[in-house]
Each structure stands twice: as C-alpha cells, then as structure tokens.
C-alpha cells in the first residue's frame, strides 16, 4: 500500500480532490497528476464570473501552490496528454511516447466543449469558455462599444452575457430552443432569466438558428440568422454544452456510455481503474439512477469516493447533487435534478427577485431552484436527500417555517 503509485489523468477539480483526499486519508504512496493544460489544478466556476470580470486575480484560482504539492510529495506534470492506457500492463502512454506505470489509475479527464458544425466556427475570434486560456483570449473582446454574440443560452452563455453586459459590451444571445436554460430548468426560471437579461440590455433571441458565421481576413465579423437578419460581431462565444472525455478509457476496454461507467465507490469495470468528475457516469443519490453530472460538487464528491476506494476505506456518504450560478446580483442555487418533475410550487415572489421553485415527482420532492433564497436551498437539499413526501402547499406557504417543515422529515 505505502509504495503504491496512483496516476491521475487530468488536472481539474476532481483530480485535485482525489490527490488531496488521498493525502488527508494517510495514503503514503506516489501520486502523479497529469494535466493537458499548462496550469496546475484551478477552479473553473469563476472563469465565467469574477475572473472574466477582472475581479479575481489568476493566482487565486489555483487550489494549491507549488510548495504545497512539493510538501505533499505530489507530482503535477502539465502539458501532457495521455493517448492510451493498457489495463493489463498497468501503464499509460503519452502522446510523445513516454510511459507511466500505475497501481491505480484515475480518469479525471473532464470534458471538452461541443463544437458548432458550421463554417466559420474555426475563425480566430470565435471562442469557447472552458479553461483559463479561453477566458484570457476572450477578455480583450469584452468591453464598451464591442459587439459580442453568444450562441447558446445555457449557464456558460448567460453568465458570460451578464459579465460582458455589465462591462459595457453589446451582447446578443442566440438560442435554438424556445427558452433559455431549457435543458436544465423549468419555464418559470427560464422566463425569470430572460426578463432579467433583457432588463440589463442583453438582446436575447430564442427559437433562433444561425445559418452562417461570416468572416473576413480570418476573423468573424457578423452572424447571419435563419430569419435572414445579420448581426455584426467583434467576437463570438459558442456555449452549446460539453462532451465527456472518454475515448482513452473506452479504448482501454472500460465500459462507457456517455461517460465512464463507475459504481458507487467510483470504480470502473476494470480493477484498479477509477473515474471522477465530468467524465464519469455515476449513481446519483437520491434518484437511484445513473447519470453524468457537470458540477463542482460532483467532482469533489467523486474525488473523495475514489480516494476512499483506493485506500480500501468505506465510501463516503453521498449528498444530493447541487449547483449554483451567479448572474448580475442574482444567486441561483439548485438542489437536485428537476428533469422529469410532474408538479411544482413557488415560494416567495419573483417580482422581488427572491423566490424558489420546488419540483415534485410522484409526490416526492426531487429538486428546487432557489433565487436569492439560501434557506429554501438548504432546506430543499435535506428534504430531497431524505426523499421527503412533503405536502407542496407547505412549501408554497411563505408563512410556514422551513425549519419546522424540515423537522418533520428528520
């Protein structure tokens, strides 16, 4: 055990958590983190928020400094791409042919941006937003008198729109679906965010498909919509979702299905090989089904699970999934997954920008979206984890104490 080697492929949140939890748990073997990017592990959520806005220095994005990794005897190697893994010989090979042997391997390979299959999407001022390099490249195109067109009204698109608009940019957001955030939330929350962004001056166009990106001298200068309208742009951001990085794992014979399949302890179907973070498809509490989660909480939870599994310790307790998004002065906190809800109630008043939507399926609370409503979020997390059959009218009644409701389902 003490001389075992753990190889972590990927250097994001899940990788950092796995390494940290291993050392915190007393693991004394060798730990190597291999990252494709030039940077050691850093936080991604601020990229589309405080970091893009210029309110957070780059140095504060990093989880740990170089001295910490050194003191913990963790090797962080950057600019390295693993191109294959051989489960039989327990070795991983880099693109340049270097071989790393392992006793345990963790796929923490994350995800990549979905690309827009359209001519012009490769022009130099067409960006994605996933890593530090992306944001540093986008930032000069954000500011007064600049036109930014964003394709995709998911969290990345809307958070970027909020920052860019605040910094004086003319922002247009194009969305194919009939509402923003269509994939992740209910029409009520979508309507709230559409209204919010429009009040700040963002031009939001739903049911809108792009027919061409037009460029000159290698740069995009306008976008033509299916309606025939042409919008000028100084830069374009594509935020149409991500794809999990599973190819190396799949080629190594690991079972994958829109994600590397792992059990409740983060183990793949091959012994001593694990997966954590965006790339993994896992058991989701409290729904008892498999899914792939794209969140910080997921990366941390799975990093801890994998570290425990490697050390032969019991799997840590799972929590219900949760997420957050900051746009303008609005904090959205999301507990659970609302995907297949069959009923909902609203608590609070959307006109005050302080309300929560609680979602039910078969009378059980399955999710909540809380807008500037931390108590509702915290209460929902507990009730969802407990699979509570809480009467919807209790939650809808703002005069009924959340603490009292939660106490009924301990």
């Amino acid at each position: 055990m003490s001389d075992a080697t753990v190889l972590i492929v990927g250097a994001g949140q899940a990788a950092a958590q796995t390494a940290t939890s291993l050392r915190q748990g007393g693991f004394e073997g060798k730990i190597t983190i291999l990252g494709e990017e030039p940077s050691p592990p850093y936080q991604r959520p601020p990229l589309s928020k405080a970091y893009l806005k210029g309110e957070l220095e780059q140095e504060r994005l990093y989880f740990k400094n170089a001295e910490w990794y050194e003191s913990q005897n963790i090797d962080v190697l950057t600019n390295i791409t693993i191109s294959s893994v051989d489960a039989d010989s327990m070795s991983a090979t880099t693109q340049s042919g270097k071989i790393f042997n392992f006793d345990h391997l963790v796929f923490a390979t994350g995800s990549r941006n979905r690309t827009l299959p359209m001519e012009g999407a490769q022009l130099e001022n067409v960006f994605g937003l996933r890593n530090l390099v992306d944001v540093d490249a986008l930032r000069p195109h954000v500011g007064p008198d600049k036109n930014l067109v964003i394709i995709g009204a998911g969290y990345i698109g809307l958070e970027t729109a909020a920052v860019a608009q605040t910094l004086g940019t003319h922002v247009t957001v194009l969305e194919l679906a009939d509402r923003v955030l269509a994939r992740v939330t209910s029409p009520i929350i979508s309507a709230f965010y559409e209204d919010l962004h429009r009040r700040y001056g963002v031009n939001i166009k739903t049911r809108c498909s792009t027919s061409s990106i037009n460029g000159k001298d290698g740069k995009a200068d306008s976008v033509t919509l299916a309606s025939g309208e042409t919008l000028p742009c100084d830069a374009l951001l594509i935020g149409i979702g991500i794809l999990p990085n599973i190819e190396v794992a799949a080629e190594a014979g690991i079972k994958c299905e829109d994600g590397i399949l792992v059990d409740e302890a983060g183990r793949t179907n091959i012994p001593h090989i694990y997966a954590a973070g965006d790339c993994a498809k896992r058991f989701i509490l409290p729904y008892g089904r498999l899914g792939r989660l794209e969140s910080v909480h997921n990366a941390i939870e799975q990093g801890k699970q994998v570290a425990a599994a490697i050390m032969g310790k019991p799997a840590p307790k799972l929590d219900c999934p949760w997420f957050w998004s900051d746009q303008y002065n609005i904090k959205l906190q999301i507990a659970g997954l609302s995907t297949d809800y069959d009923n909902f109630v609203i608590r609070g008043d959307s006109d005050n920008e302080k309300f929560a939507v609680f979602y039910f399926k078969d009378d059980i609370l399955i999710a909540a979206d809380a807008i500037n409503s931390a108590p509702e979020f915290m209460t929902a997390k507990r009730l969802i984890t407990a699979k509570a059959k809480v009467p919807p009218e209790w939650l809808a009644d703002s005069d009924r104490s959340l603490k009292d409701i939660a106490a009924q389902f301990k």
Binding site: Q43, P45, F63, Q72, W324, A374, T379, L402
Partner: protein
C-alpha cells in the same frame, strides 16, 4: 503573514501562515485543512467551509451579512459563533486567531 490556528473538533491543531487578502477559507484550502471543503470556491453557496470563531475575535472578523446568515441558519451544528470562512478576509491583525471546526466536518 499572520499565523492562524485551525483546531479540529477532536482538538487536533494545525497552525498555518496565511496571506493577507486571501479569505480564511482560501488559506485553509491551500494548506489542506481537513474539514474545509469549500465546494463553491467562496461564492457563499454551499456552507461547506463552516467554522466557529470565538466572540473575542469578532471585532477582527466582523459579523455575517444577510446571505451568509441565511446559509448558516440552515447549516449543521450551528452555534452563535458560526461563520462561513469564505466570507472572512484575512488581515494582518488576525495574528494568532483560533478557528474551530464543527464535529461533522
């Protein structure tokens, strides 16, 4: 570089040198203090950086704002001295401050 003492519920002590301007949470995470996960990275969204700070230090650390207070109201093992460490910026004057962790963390 003020010295800060983190103390686990079991009484285990961990003294660190913190950087002025970082939050107490950032200092804890950078030094790998077990029990401070800070899932949200300091966005006041998760309450996984919950700590206790004795009232004798409250002149240095201030008091929670509304958002922080409403997160704390629903956190586990809340006490009158509870704070979210992500909401406390470190200052030179905090030399020697003691930060205690809840049992469940």
């Amino acid at each position: 570089m003020p010295k800060i003492l983190f103390m686990s519920h079991a009484g285990e002590e961990h003294s660190i040198e913190a950087k002025v301007g970082d939050s107490l949470m950032e200092a804890a995470v950078k030094n790998s203090i077990a029990g401070i996960d800070a899932d949200c990275g300091g966005a006041c969204a998760c309450a996984t950086c919950h700590v206790y700070i004795d009232s004798s230090y409250s002149a240095l650390t201030g008091t929670p704002d509304d958002m922080e207070q409403s997160m704390l109201d629903f956190a586990d093992e809340v006490q009158p001295t509870s704070r979210l460490s992500c909401q406390i910026p470190i200052t030179e004057e905090m030399e020697g401050i003691v930060v205690r962790l809840p049992e469940s963390q």
